[in-house]
Symmetry: C2
Subunit: 421 residues, 2 copies
């Protein structure tokens, strides 16, 4: 009787499930830009986005002093996952390289299920900092190998190249279902699952908008993890927002934010139905110094971005392979560059795919009036969005380490006696 | 009895005093940068700023559709002051150029006192949109003349050139005390007052950090406006943050934010003592596309900014007037430019004050690793900070027009029967 009562009170004071969602690199200019990108020109009112609906606060992102004021994804994911500041490059180890307990480890030790669903390789900095420890994010193979010891119930994303046949065999020997095609997702109806759907990262959303990759992985994660009556902790990352930001690629970035936003809406729906679930959405840092408008002009033109039919990477590849590349470029960009602009593109094309992709991105910036200050990260605070029990804890300003402390405080205070393994 | 009860319930459900503070152009990168600018390197912890302490939400700033997605100060001040979107350049008139009731007008009509304390000329776009109406912010003389009809109790800032002797006489004939020196502030012990302390804007804070101009004007405004037992509405603007942003001048901008932050702290202290006062702090838009870190480097160096002894405008003026300008520049910047950098400065110096100031600012950007995308505004959402009764109304995301609607809803629902005039 006493124990049952205790268990009851635990389930009342803590959310049963916690879903942490990270828009990698998605600083406030991305969500502002996204509002205008999504605006319906046929209505008088400006429509709110899911970000507007869920905003509760902001967070600082600086790393440990040894790394200055601007974080990388590993240090910020460590802060969000463990509550500790560390050096750039560290995967849930402190500045002395000692391992730090992560939220997913703690959850697992309490008898909850855990999972990750990301659009980068599954062993990239952010998911790694939630699942494991390493002195360097660059140790991709070590990180992949260490996943066998995490007992994570769901591991979904890219990264086939880091999982050797031997390593996959270890996973299957431990009871993991291994899949590498989206079409196989339906066949998975219970944990555990290791799903690797690309050699490295998943394809750009802009190149296959119907794929809905991240949202499908997230939906499947919710379905599988919900089977644990004790609850679960899930990390979802819109990883490629950051990658597009590093390339200063606004058209690609907006499509990535769009899929991340759609994924948030799916989770929001889950939270509305399962009233015992907390969702917490943030970014690990801001990437690229994106600005909505630039060059002294008081305009930003999202309509230009909607006409771009493919990623500049893909447009460049097509244009380099074809003789009539002018028409391909005009068709894929959705506008016809001027003679001078084509002359610049011709020079870039002679330097190869990368140079042409950069030139195309700059042309899209010019037509949409988009600005950037960096191909790296910047120190700008990021936003915090939340819904469900405990959401108000994240109101106002906080440091990214405090986000972790708050989530830790919402985990059950003692292990379930019937861990669902 | 019934009327007394009614009056009682009004005073309980509405804050008596409302203080609206606008950091012109102060988007989120300014407050992030400011945290690191203020950090005490001798402590282990990162100190919170007043912005961190008071953050409650964010706001979108876009103007009426006719002006696209990026607002100017006039349209955004109109939104904050009236609750309506309008075209860029409009001073509290709608897109048809019809006047819109402002918060300060409404407050005055209810028997509250009203005032403005700003660091720009008092007839600049933001204060104008709170006090009057004009189809163009450029009509400075018309706007100044119209102030005689506002009955504002406190008008403090710059702008001597727009107030002719005849206009000043009209103000004094109406009972206004007229002063034009900070030293005269002490002699003013009751409203009404017209204080104009500079030909146009007040001097840059970085050139006279001890002056504490905006905070002194604000302190005096609180003292004078508090004398109305019915309450007051005060607008305070840190106007020159925006001007420094337009010049992409990070050292000058940080000093302006510092004085604005200090002014907020004074108001915060007032709110703590007078528990019936709401303070609401926001920005009208983001200026310059400032980023904390740039150029692909993961660093930002606020310590460089603390060593800058004067505004680049002033350093340039000194350097152009002097033969030994190299030593002046090195001394005033706080670092010694390289031979190549001095060669660039020499070229700029030959083009005059403005070109040299720009070159100096770029050098400060280089040494501090600060980025900019524009000499104009950008569309990034801005932050909202609040304290006092009603503060929670401003939590989460909102449009700038909603801020005005919320403040209107906090005004008394009927006029005081004993207007203090």
């Amino acid at each position: 009787m006493a124990m049952a009562g205790n268990s009851q009170s635990i389930s009342q004071s803590h959310p049963k499930n916690i879903i942490i969602m990270i828009g990698d690199g998605m600083g406030p200019a991305y969500t502002t830009a996204y509002r205008y990108y999504k605006e319906n020109p046929n209505t008088e009112e400006m429509e709110q986005t899911v970000f507007d609906r869920l905003l509760v606060g902001m967070a600082s992102t600086y790393p440990a002093k040894v790394s200055g004021l601007i974080t990388d994804s590993a240090a910020s994911a460590t802060a969000l996952s463990t509550g500790f500041k560390t050096y750039n490059g560290a995967v849930s180890v402190d500045v002395e390289k000692r391992p730090l307990q992560t939220l997913l480890q703690k959850a697992k030790s309490l008898g909850l299920s855990t999972g990750i669903a990301v659009s980068s390789q599954v062993n990239h900095a952010t998911p790694a900092a939630f699942l494991t420890h390493n002195e360097s994010r660059q140790n991709y193979n070590e990180i992949a190998e260490s996943y066998i010891n995490t007992d994570a119930d769901v591991i979904l994303g890219g990264g086939q190249r880091y999982f050797s046949t031997e390593l996959i065999e270890k996973f299957t020997a431990k009871g993991y279902q291994h899949i590498n095609e989206f079409s196989q997702l339906d066949s998975v109806t219970s944990p555990k699952v290791l799903g690797l759907f690309a050699d490295v990262q998943l394809p750009w959303v802009i190149d296959d908008k119907e794929a809905k990759s991240l949202s499908k992985l997230t939906q499947k994660s919710l379905e599988l993890l919900s089977q644990n009556p004790n609850g679960f902790v899930l990390l979802v990352e819109g990883s490629l927002i950051d990658w597009a930001g590093h390339s200063n690629d606004i058209a690609t970035a907006m499509a990535e934010v769009d899929e991340f936003a759609y994924t948030i809406e799916i989770v929001e729906q889950f939270v509305r139905q399962q009233k015992d679930t907390l969702m917490l959405v943030t970014a690990d840092h801001n990437t690229g110094g994106l600005s909505v408008g630039a060059n002294g002009k008081y305009e930003w033109k999202p309509e230009v971005l909607h006409k771009v039919k493919a990623s500049p990477d893909n447009i460049a590849a097509s244009a380099i392979a074809a003789d009539d590349w002018h028409s391909i470029v005009s068709d894929q960009l959705g506008f016809t560059p001027s003679a001078q602009e084509f002359s610049n593109l011709t020079n870039a094309r002679m330097q190869g795919n990368k140079a042409l992709a950069i030139a195309l991105r700059k042309l899209i910036d010019l037509y949409s009036n988009t600005g950037w200050t960096s191909v790296g990260h910047t120190g700008l605070d990021v936003q915090v969005f939340a819904a469900g029990p405990g959401a108000k804890l994240f109101s106002g300003h906080q440091d990214n380490t405090e986000i972790a402390h708050k989530i830790f405080s919402l985990l059950p205070t003692r292990a379930f006696t019937n861990p669902s393994q």
